[in-house]
């Protein structure tokens, strides 16, 4: 039974509003009275996903779905896709540009950090089409 479902669009290369969707999602979950530990883990995973959308995709969205025993966060994008997911999941591996690295991003921690913070993590990608990440957090 879904208590709430909401979508948050994320624009490619917009570093000014990057993080806004994650902040909104965090506030929403606080209002719903979700456990602080879950909010913390979800916020971190969500921010990583949002930044990845900004850096790597041609645009995408975050979809938050809350039901009575689980929160689901989906990141969907249109973009280049990931040719080798195992390699992309390796900490320290990044394809981020020099400009993005200068801002302190592109340490190659994002996907691994999402997987670590979610209770379940699924990623699928098609080269030339886009990437979908599903993260589940038990309540």
């Amino acid at each position: 039974m879904s208590i709430l479902k909401e979508e948050f669009p994320v624009e490619a290369m917009d570093f000014v509003t990057a993080g806004e969707a994650s902040a909104q999602i965090k506030r929403l979950l606080k209002k719903l009275g979700v456990d602080a530990g879950v909010i913390r883990r979800l916020s971190i995973a969500c921010y990583e996903a949002e930044i990845n959308l900004v850096i790597h995709s041609d645009g995408g969205k975050l979809v938050l779905e809350v039901d009575s025993n689980e929160v689901t966060l989906i990141s969907e994008d249109v973009g280049p896709g990931i040719p080798d997911i195992d390699l992309a999941m390796t900490e320290g591996y990044s394809t981020a540009s020099e400009d993005v690295r200068m801002m302190g991003f592109g340490a190659g921690m994002g996907l691994a950090n999402m997987a670590r913070n979610a209770d379940r993590f699924d990623i699928s990608s098609k080269v030339g089409e886009g990437t979908t990440i599903k993260m589940y957090f038990s309540l």
Partner: protein, 113 residues
């Protein structure tokens, strides 16, 4: 130690208006890689970084940090400070290097995670 007390130890001014500077600093951290800090940041941290763009505030806020400390007198843009105030994150500016800030805060009893 509070944010206010930490600021005094490193001769820092508080750039944000209206944030709670009586907040407890639990530990210190320094790193300029935001994605690294996303992975290792914790609640109540004083985070020292030379990065001054908007995403620093997002990372500090998501981790519910105590404050962000900008070393070497690097200037911070007004819209970033406005965002920090809105999120309740104090931003401190010190003329000292990150190295010296860490040294002084450690000597004053702030631990690392």
């Amino acid at each position: 130690m509070t944010v206010n007390e930490a600021a005094k130890i490193i001769g820092a001014s508080i750039l944000t208006e209206g944030t709670d500077t009586s907040r407890e600093v639990r530990e210190g951290y320094t790193c300029d890689l935001l994605s690294w800090v996303m992975a290792h940041g914790r609640e109540g941290m004083a985070w020292i970084t030379v990065q001054t763009h908007m995403n620093v505030i997002a990372v500090a806020s998501l981790h519910d940090m105590a404050c962000v400390i900008i070393p070497e007198g690097i200037s911070v843009e007004a819209d970033v400070l406005g965002k920090a105030a809105e999120e309740g994150i104090s931003v401190l500016s010190s003329r000292l290097t990150a190295f010296e800030i860490c040294g002084r805060l450690t000597q004053a009893g702030i631990g690392a995670c």
